[in-house]
Amino acid sequence: MTVGIIVFPGTNCEEDVAYALDALGAETVPVWHRETSLDGLTAVVLPGGFAHGDYLRAGAIARFSPIMAAVEKLAAEGHPVLGICNGFQILCEAGLLPGALIANRDLRFICRPVHVRVESTDSVLTRAAAIGQVLTIPLNSYEGNYLPGPEAARPILRYCEADGSVTGAANPNGSSDSVAGIANSSGTVAAVMPHPERAIEPFMASTDGRVLLESFIAASEAASLGAVDG
């Protein structure tokens, strides 16, 4: 089972994600955005960063990269697809997930750990977590303010207080309905604004990112055995 990590010009979290998935026992391979095939890969991650400088709109240019057709095909086949931060923005621009992400409410970049509550375990990112579980994961974005589209999004993670209560004060960026992560109806395509790979070792903000990435690895293994979700 090998997970592809899509690298666009301007992507900068690809090695962090590879390091984290590797630490949790998954094989990964970087895939440059000019490639056109994902053959042999059972799942892909679109990592964080600033693909094409986030120019025009975050993800607006990346979604036209040659590799994205293959990503859409993989998603259509029900294979796990995960977008983190910039990857979330790209998946929305590509129409693989509903909605859009706009500038943070206070027009400031935010890099700090935030609390998120697990809203649904029916996704490749949350299947190993427990509903209501509160995780501490570092946020790192300027355009993390989620805006739903015509079709309703399915929240899987929401910003919350340490005790799990979802409040306006706990919403760092103005994201509608405090959405921090969403998934498609079958749960196979998931995206999250905070960075789970930044919360996997004791010296980091927390180790709460593990349960999310372990979910994704488990889903990818299932997919590689043909037992594709959805």
């Binding site: 010009p9 400088g53 400031r108 930044r198």
Partner: protein, 729 residues
Amino acid sequence: MAETLHRRLGMTDAEYGAIHEVLGRPPADPELAMYSVMWSEHCSYKSSRAHLSDLPTDAPWVVVGPGENAGVVDIGDGWLAALRIESHNHPSFVEPYQGAATGVGGILRDIFTMGARPVGLWNQIRFGELSDAHNRYLFNGVVAGIAGYGNAVGVPTLGGEVEFEPVYAGNPLVNVMCLGLLRDDQLVLGTAGEPGTVAVLLGASTGRDGIGGASVLASAGFDERAESKRPSVQVGDPFEEKKLIEACLELYRSHLVVGVQDLGAAGLTCAASEPAARAGVGMDLNLDAVHLREPGMTAPELLMSESQERMMAFVSPQHVEAVLAVAARWEIDASVVGTVASGDRLRVYHDGVQVVDVPAASLTDEAPVLRRPIARPGWIDELWDVSSRSAEVPFDVALLSMLADPALGDRSWVYEQFDHMLFLNTVRGPGRDGSLIRVRGTDKGLAVSTDGNGRLCVLDPRRGAQRLVYEAALNVAVLGARPLAVVDNLNLGNPEKPEVMWQFTETLAGLGSACEALGVPIVGGNVSFYNETDGRDIYPTPVVGLLGMAEPIPPRPGPLVGGMSVLVVGPEPSTSMAGSAYQRVVHGVLGGRPTRIDPEEGGRSIELAIRITHIVPGAHLHDISQGGALVAVAELLIEFGVGAHIELGSVEEAFGEDPHRFVCVVAPEGVALVAQLAREVGCHVEDIGITGGSNLSIVHRTTTDVPIERLRAVWEGALPTAMHGAIHE
């Protein structure tokens, strides 16, 4: 016409004469343009070079000292560390966002030019007071610019400093430092190599960016452009720089380049002449091959353009194809613009004709060296006469007003706008003291602290600079790291004033002697003169960037809880409050003579701090600097939400900023161990109280209680309150 032209380019008649002498004929306009930028203060260090030579720059672990784009030290296990600091003060005043952004871009290029991957950025920024809307605009814009560039280029910003002083209102300071890592077989120098080597220009296309004086030349032909004499603002493109970093690192990995030089100040002129001079060769440069952003650029404009995100690679002919292929893969432009020639001449061709023919080295080596007059300012004595002992204010009142000060309060408003976690190596990010990153595949950690203090240095530039070196060293020591190397950035006023030259030489003497005493080499730095407005100079503001190494990375202390002892380690404070935050915030004065460092005491405190972090489980250390011991203790208590009962004998004990002192909060069972280590090392330890409860009770004459939550609210509110409503547009 050239006679008057050189003046308009900011050159003296003497300098013009020198060029005439070098060439044995009057220079042509493009030649004059090249000399005017290369012999400028910024590029030639003409006012400072004569003095910089006295600095201690050697140590067994120094691989590259001052003179290249960055200093490089050997940290073992096959790894080298490259570091450099630069200033972008004036551009940031003109356009705060782009000025700061391009400053970050420039310092990154200095680092990856050496073959290193940039792994961390630090910034030291100073502004006028935030009560003024324009200062808020500048501060907000600079922070946004550092974030906008650093975050997008994909290099974590791990720390820095912020100060607010009226003296910086007309001339904010924006310094940036970068640290890079490289394998010891991947060092690349800024050399042009042998004759026949090909010069390949990589990255952004060339436009009229940063051409100021040069627009005079341009306007000889283009009158409509004559109106805009000011340099056009340079716009940073972190996306281009990110691709440029990856492309260059691939070139180094595949050993495809002989040398590399970044294009910064003086653009192509510098990127052609410096590497040629270093290699003792000449070069033929073809401006017609340069990829352009705008048409109709003149030769002088092309030679002086400071367009960002460009690098010059020197490549053996047989590797040119491979280099162009790497550039294409990373989606950056590349053009073959020159060939290294035997002899010493730098020849430049434009529209097919030769427009420049000068000795390459004359642009760099024959730059004038000025011995400017030096005079100690009389007002220093008046400043020293100001009593540094000030009337006492209740300690809790003083503490609250200090924590509420934007320069002393919580900095998260700034550093949470910077990605400080990328690469997953940040063991200790921004917050307090230095920052610490792990070096993958080793048990080593690299710690960096950057420190400046204009108020201290205006009172006594020599002692001030010495204090900064020892403060930076203690800041990495409390993280368990041993000082390894220093870079410095000297922000000063107008060097044509003898008083400013005195401040400069005193500062250098202080830096040199302190680094000598500490046994730490200065591997690079930068001098920024002419930081003045309306004839008013800034405080002499040296900034010290110190790299330390922890081996191994010490264990993380657990939580700070109740029942722990609060110790102050280091020499007894003197009675001087000179230059302290207490003077500024509580009494609004500046005066007295700062306490001098004591290298022996300083060395012992550093040694003890390092030992405690490695040997005493769960000890929390915090360097005592601005605000003194009480502010240092309060910061620790706020971080962990724990109260304490503290006894303090005097204002100096509470708020004094004398050097070589740090706070150590340790569990009862650790106290004896600390005491024993202190005896071994020979340090004085003072037990000033115990943690517990939810209040900070300060015993001094009477006892006063302040809830920790109140301290937190005041401390956390300091910057956001001052910055309410500020935006960058």
